[in-house]
């Protein structure tokens, strides 16, 4: 398992005060919070930061971590010293996201604590508690939202084993992704969360939907946008062209004198549903390169025919000075 340098993650010295640590956490948390930052890898950074802060903000955990010494380097292969964990009492509840913490964290801080917790909980007679709800994000393709799909998910969840220890176990679930689902929506799978204690039922599993970025389409709520390049003569004279949609190609009539950036709406061709979204085809005009004599001659003929055409006529008024 890799050693984690929590001080380095938070960008503070080993001698930092609790106030320094809190300030550093706040500053970095604002920067990398996944609901705020669009930076690639922000979520991973935020998780790492949360783990580091979980340890360093708690004087007891920090002292235990400091005991390991300062000679370790981040990423170095790490084994806990013999007898580790004896006499280390873990207080308070489990934060939401602890299941996501690294093996390094689990080994140092979680295992002893959770074993104790479950020993006092699961075995006790007459205790009935509903299991926790779990949340996970599912990435799907836009096409899956048009047609529905089946996804196989692998989730890491804490479970109580035969000896009463809490262990991280991988679960594989097959989940039906319903047609018409949109980014940001939640699918509830009843009873698929953490098991309850005693006769308490299992919690639920909530899956939050997100779309993989698509090379062709942009999605806004129910509506889908696609850029459609046109040759200058197609835009000028009108044409019938094929346009891609997540449902397949459609024949599209381009009206004469179509300007670039014009949105052609295909009603109801967005994400399906009781109120289906629309598909917007955004026109672009692509110039053929003038890289042969024939091509240059063609542009020159065009120039001759349009000798009165001045695309900058409207700029003249403001530019007299």
């Amino acid at each position: 398992m890799d050693y984690k340098d929590y001080y380095k993650v938070m960008g503070v010295e080993r001698s930092a005060t609790q106030d320094d640590i809190k300030r550093a956490y706040r500053k970095l948390a604002r920067k990398y919070h996944p609901d705020v930052s669009k930076e690639a890898g922000a979520e991973a950074k935020f998780k790492e930061l949360g783990e580091a802060y979980e340890v360093l903000k708690d004087p007891e955990k920090r002292a235990a971590y400091d005991q390991l010494g300062s000679n370790w380097r981040a990423g170095q292969d790490f084994q806990p010293p013999p007898g580790w964990g004896a006499g280390f009492e873990r207080r308070g509840g489990t934060p939401d996201n602890e299941a996501d913490f690294s093996d390094f964290f689990e080994t140092l801080f979680a295992r002893s604590g959770s074993a104790r917790r479950s020993a006092s909980g699961a075995g006790a007679a007459g205790v009935h508690l509903r299991g926790q709800d779990h949340h996970a994000q599912v990435l799907i393709d836009l096409e899956d939202a048009y047609r529905g799909a089946t996804r196989t998910l692998t989730l890491r969840m804490p479970e109580v084993d035969a000896q009463g220890h809490v262990v991280m176990r991988e679960r594989t679930l097959q989940v039906q992704i319903p047609k018409g689902v949109r980014a940001g929506q939640h699918i509830r799978l009843a009873g698929q969360g953490a098991p309850g204690l005693g006769e308490g039922g299992a919690g639920d599993l909530y899956l939050e939907i997100a779309f993989n970025p698509h090379s062709l389409y942009r999605v806004e709520g129910r509506d889908v946008f696609v850029d459609l390049p046109l040759a200058p003569w197609e835009a000028a004279l009108g044409a019938e062209v094929q346009a891609p949609t997540p449902d397949g190609l459609v024949e599209l009539k381009i009206p004469p004198t179509t300007a670039p950036g014009r949105r052609l709406r295909l009603k109801g061709r967005g994400i399906p549903g009781a109120t289906p979204g629309d598909l917007y085809v955004v026109t672009q005009i692509v110039l053929p390169p003038a890289d042969t004599d024939a091509a240059r001659a063609a542009y020159q003929r065009l120039q001759g025919e349009f000798s009165k055409f001045n695309p900058r006529a409207h700029l003249k008024q403001g530019a007299k000075a």
Binding site: D133, Q174, V175, Q176
Partner: protein, 107 residues
Amino acid sequence: MSTSDTAAPLCGIVMEEQVDISIDDLCAVCRVERTQIVHLVEEGVIEPLPALGSAAQRTQWRFSGETLNRARRAVRLQRDLELNAAATALVLDLLDQIDALRRSTQA
């Protein structure tokens, strides 16, 4: 405990497609106490459905399924950045503006 490897795919409910959800549903999904949801309503971060309105008993509040996403974002921001309800309202409004700007530069 082996709920894994189910033969038939599991079918869930899309929360947002449900007509409405109760304040207790919202608390359960966000894992917060009712008072925290009440604060979010008071700051206008989320709104109960108008049928009953804020004049109704808080225990009877119903929310549109679409509220779920916003409420979860709000709760995450509050917890992770230690914000109060008013600051959360401001952050979410600014994030909405950034989203709108980003979309308009993309199109």
